[in-house]
Symmetry: C2
Subunit: 77 residues, 2 copies
């Protein structure tokens, strides 16, 4: 089973990606969904996986940015 | 069944996305894979779906850019 994490911040671009890309992936795998706008403690994990903006997927440790909603730096304050 | 098209141009970023994101999606759906570096006739389709760079997915008509490999304009010449 693949490890899939979906990082978002509730933005419109994030919601569109969640409704399409993530909902497809959920048919084959559990997807851990993390809202970095609410869960600031996960910012370090996201960064160490290479995430620079949301929405993003981390699949088996590799980061994939999907379109562009917000930079991680905008979520840090 | 969802309609999923994966546009790429053979670039390293494209190959990484194909090995991970696309291979997950292929577990649940057929994915049409189009190499825009070789198949220039598909550039118009990709553009009209909103694709601006590769690698990108078009899922049920919505475009999702995955990281950044190359701009579509770089593939037009």
């Amino acid at each position: 089973m693949s490890s899939i994490i979906y990082y978002h911040a509730g933005c419109p671009v994030c919601i569109e990606a969640e409704r399409t890309v993530v909902s497809e992936l959920q048919k084959v795998s559990d997807v851990t969904i993390v809202n970095l706008g609410e869960d600031k403690t996960s910012l370090a994990d996201a960064k160490s996986a290479g995430v620079q903006s949301v929405p993003a997927l981390v699949i088996n440790g590799l980061s994939f940015h999907i379109n562009f909603g917000a930079a991680l730096s905008a979520l840090e304050s």
